[in-house]
Symmetry: C2
Subunit: 283 residues, 2 copies
């Protein structure tokens, strides 16, 4: 997905939000805004938003001198999600369609996104994801493809959300390769965050090679791109991965909550909707 | 009121909103964003938001080549407000406290603000202003000062809102000098807009000399500043005038709706609240 003009004010909001996690020095934060302003002409609308996110968080690191401002918040999100794990596991096991319930819960976890907002309410997100209708629900194709495949490529998104992914991975009951970001960017999950969530107990964790907050292919490693080429069943979580991959030719199931108006418009849904969308999956 | 870091993303939103009124050429709009980005380091947080608004709309004019993109929207707002005039006049005359009702209606008119939002609902704003409690209501001091004064200085805000101001001016029943902006900026009222609203029938219209979307004193004419110095009863409408004048030493009654979170925080109210706030008025 390319960027839209309306993404530009949001880039400044994102930079400010991330900057504020790193410092409360107003002068440094103003300098951060100014630096993004200066480089704005280098940001093409043909770039995907996570490509620009990558640049923004580089500027945040550069100006604030903090290489991972979200580290503690990420650990905290994972701890909080792990505390919910037993009751969510029970909800899945007791439901009529455990796979669909696990998908709903995995999407609920996508609300843990400090790139999209400074605050979120995970309990409400779970309740909504369990009760609300999907705006797009390619569940039938998802089940068919899952039954056929021998292994799963699962492109993760944020720390904490990883725990919700683990529940879906356990439910799918096939060998999974779980993909994380190479370097810290916003609260996106790295290997460390995936391990904290216990993903190493249910999947093989690999890095996509990128430091963008989404699978932006030209910033990913050749090994990851080859995996994507070879994959017979791919799941991509969250907005950043949707933005990075939605214009590519791969067969992918996107699981996300449309947290911003621009993405909602791009997909043709309403902000806040939950989505299970198959791309090039024969749906 | 100084600017806050959170105003910065909003500056880009405002520029984009104004730019889109002037052109739908995406490349020109991107150029507008880039130009604002380049000049961001020149914008100090010590500036009031309307000082920056002035710069933004200069860039909009410069990049789009359109010196008054809001002209037609302003005429339309005034026509729509004039259509409401008879029924609003009746509402005021039939109410128990006609002056307070006229104040409420004048504040409702403040919702006609293309700087704060691309859309608004005047009917809902009127209903809310007539029914909701004031968050700050220095009405008693307002009445006392009004009874004492021999003339009124009324600093207007937006085109269309002018019609609502006219209703309050008629109700106060004292000689009024009505102040407008010198040059078009956003949908702020100029002499032409005030005349279209019929203000010339109830007040003397003067220009403040500014092309900022608010009474930013160092951009106003010496004549206007002298009027403000001499005034025994001053009303200032809207956010832009509040932002421009709230750190000055004059005695002023501000009538506004807090349409943005930053101003709401600055005043100590909730976004959407209606306010009649006396500054240095002995309240």
């Amino acid at each position: 997905m390319k960027s839209y003009l309306d993404c530009i004010p949001c880039f400044f909001e994102q930079a400010l939000r991330a900057g504020r996690i790193a410092t409360d020095d107003e002068q440094v934060l103003k300098q951060l805004m100014d630096e993004l302003g200066k480089r704005l002409h280098q940001i093409s609308l043909d770039n995907t938003p996570p490509e620009t996110g990558r640049l923004i968080y580089r500027i945040v690191r550069e100006i604030t001198g903090n290489s991972d401002p979200f580290q503690e918040l990420k650990h905290q999100s994972t701890r909080e999600a792990l505390a919910l794990y037993p009751s969510l596991k029970r909800t899945i096991e007791e439901s009529d369609d455990s796979l669909l319930t696990a998908i709903r819960i995995a999407i609920a976890g996508n609300v843990i996104d400090f790139g999209a907002s400074a605050t979120f309410d995970i309990e409400t997100a779970i309740k909504e994801a369990l009760e609300n209708d999907f705006a797009i629900c390619d569940y039938s194709a998802f089940k068919d493809k899952l039954a056929e495949t021998e292994e799963i490529l699962y492109i993760g998104d944020n720390a904490g959300e990883t725990v919700f992914d683990r529940l879906l991975i356990e439910q799918m009951n096939k060998p999974v390769t779980y993909v994380v970001r190479e370097k810290p960017v916003i609260n996106d999950a790295t290997i460390e965050d995936a391990v904290q969530a216990g993903i190493d107990q249910v999947a093989t964790i690999v890095s996509s090679g990128t430091d963008a907050p989404g699978a932006v292919l030209n910033t990913c490693s050749p090994e990851f791109r080859e995996m994507l080429n070879q994959s017979t069943f791919t799941i991509a979580k969250g907005q950043g991965n949707y933005e990075g991959l939605s214009s590519e030719d791969y067969s992918i199931f996107f699981l996300l909550k449309a947290k911003c108006q621009i993405i909602a418009n791009d997909i043709g849904v309403i902000k806040g909707d939950i989505i299970l969308k198959g791309m090039n999956t024969g749906t």
